[in-house]
Symmetry: C2
Subunit: 318 residues, 2 copies
């Protein structure tokens, strides 16, 4: 089958990749549509010390086989990405997305979605309602990551929320906040991207007024240098939700965190059911974020496009 | 009067310092005993960009005058250190210890406790029960800072708690955790200091076993380099309570915070009533931390002592 494989930091479009075979507990999926994420581009650049395997962890697919769980066959699904063993200390504490033996679809020891077929544990699958088009469902994973930021807002926080970064992640987070009734300000640098957000009710700006102060700030800039600026806009005991994962270590003025008693919360994967609910009711429409859709056989061009400044979501169709 | 004054980063013991005069709302206090804190030593070294004034913010004193609030006169008191205006945006939001116009006793625009007499707003005073000796009461401020760490433990955390640093602050925090029924491990480098903690029921170690994992870690090391090591011992979604304030910026691997979904919580001043309750019931006995008591006229020697490796709390008696 066709698959986009990463090996020794080298991307290869392989036509002879073996079609995987599911064991009981796994489903064989035919990928319908997949999205290129910032993490994919970071993996190509060596993040995580060199992933080898098929890339891709945002997808919508159809179940082809599911040994022992035949009720899944024929269903259209999206899927969570962290496998879990159920046995380790983290799993027993309920931290299943942090399983100590976890594999992560398209990221760590498990072939991903930029292929004609892929495998997933059936426990990670979520059925997609019929009326939700593929172009919407494919955003479930990044929208769930945005909902993780919502989960991390302390219940005693006010509602002055600012999102920094108008890339894919920042936009989806701002849209998720609005979908859930918050009134965030999105700070970005790109008029066309900010307009995508403002058309769905997000307040946007390219520069905050001096002295502006927020209860919650979300960092989706992808740039560690941005953090010092972001801290300036947090009230004492305010919360910074960190979404940026970069390979480079960041320099942070820790005494400001102590003196202002700030909370910094790292936030990664999120709840698929809430994301699917927002997408299926139309409260959140991610389609304006689609920059282009390529066939999988043009995956290298798709990656070149996704890496261009200004590009938002680039999709791959096997 | 006698006062230890800091000016242009220069410590001067002055014999002719003017005795302050209270206005309504303020109390004139005769200092009975005061403690030298790490912040005092940092201020001497230029932290906060150069404080000018009388140092000292840990004290027990007797109220001499309190215009309009005569009921305070003659009482033995300890005092909080952050003044507040009641008018600014932070005060109106209840963040009074973060008042935008705040002055901080002995730290920012308000003469402190290393003097025969000092002023305090009466709103910051707490009466000390008669049976609590000065040597115990003088620890109320640092014990309150330790209780701030307790306040910041998320209610959904387990109880695997580790405190890093066996200096004054780390010891007091470990003792406070034990006083409140937790079972922390204190990690330090100094056998005599660790023994002070273990004699009050704290588990101590000089090295954690590889793979040890905690729900909550408290950084009281005073060294920004320690943070990377500390992160190794936190479980996913664990909490790091930051108490270290240093002038130097710290380098932190932010992607670990995101991937492990850690919470980093800056923690500063804490609740005086809880601290006084722990001290007055004897649940927490800070007296083993006293390294020496000097008369205020020997304050420069006292500071030299406090700065020696191995020194714990050095007290000044005017």
């Amino acid at each position: 089958m066709l698959a986009l494989n990463l090996h020794n930091d080298q991307l290869d479009l392989r036509f002879d990749f073996p079609t995987p075979v599911p064991v009981p507990g796994e489903a064989l999926l035919r990928v319908r549509l997949a999205g290129i994420c910032g993490t994919d581009m970071a993996l190509i650049q060596g993040y995580k010390g060199g992933y080898s395997g098929v890339l891709g962890h945002e997808y919508v697919a159809e179940v082809v086989q599911a040994p022992g769980r035949e009720e899944w066959v024929g269903r259209r699904v999206v899927g969570e990405i962290n496998t879990s063993c159920g046995q380790c200390d983290h799993c027993r504490r309920g931290l299943v997305t942090h399983c100590q033996r976890r594999r992560v679809l398209g990221i760590l020891n498990w072939d991903g979605a930029f292929a004609e077929y892929m495998l997933s544990p059936t426990t990670l699958l979520h059925a997609v309602p019929d009326h939700v088009p593929d172009e919407v469902a494919v955003f479930t994973e990044p929208v769930a990551a945005a909902y993780a930021a919502l989960r991390d807002i302390p219940p005693d926080a006010g509602e002055r929320i600012v999102v920094f970064g108008d890339g894919r992640l920042g936009l989806v987070i701002a849209l998720a906040f609005v979908a859930e009734g918050y009134d965030p300000v999105l700070v970005g640098r790109h008029v066309p991207k900010l307009e995508i957000a403002s058309r769905q009710g997000v307040r946007t700006t390219m520069e905050l007024p001096a002295g502006a102060e927020f209860d919650v700030a979300v960092d989706a800039t992808g740039r560690v240098e941005a953090l010092s600026v972001i801290l300036d806009y947090l009230r004492p005991r305010g919360t910074l939700i960190l979404k940026t994962t970069t390979a480079q270590p960041g320099v942070l003025d820790l005494s400001r965190i102590v003196v202002n008693e700030l909370r910094v919360i790292g936030s990664r994967c999120g709840p698929f059911p809430r994301a699917l609910a927002a997408l299926s009711t139309g409260r959140l429409d991610p389609r304006p974020l689609i920059s282009a859709t390529y066939s999988l056989s043009n995956a290298l061009q798709a990656f070149a496009h996704a890496m261009q400044p200004g590009a938002l979501k680039v999709l791959l169709r096997p």
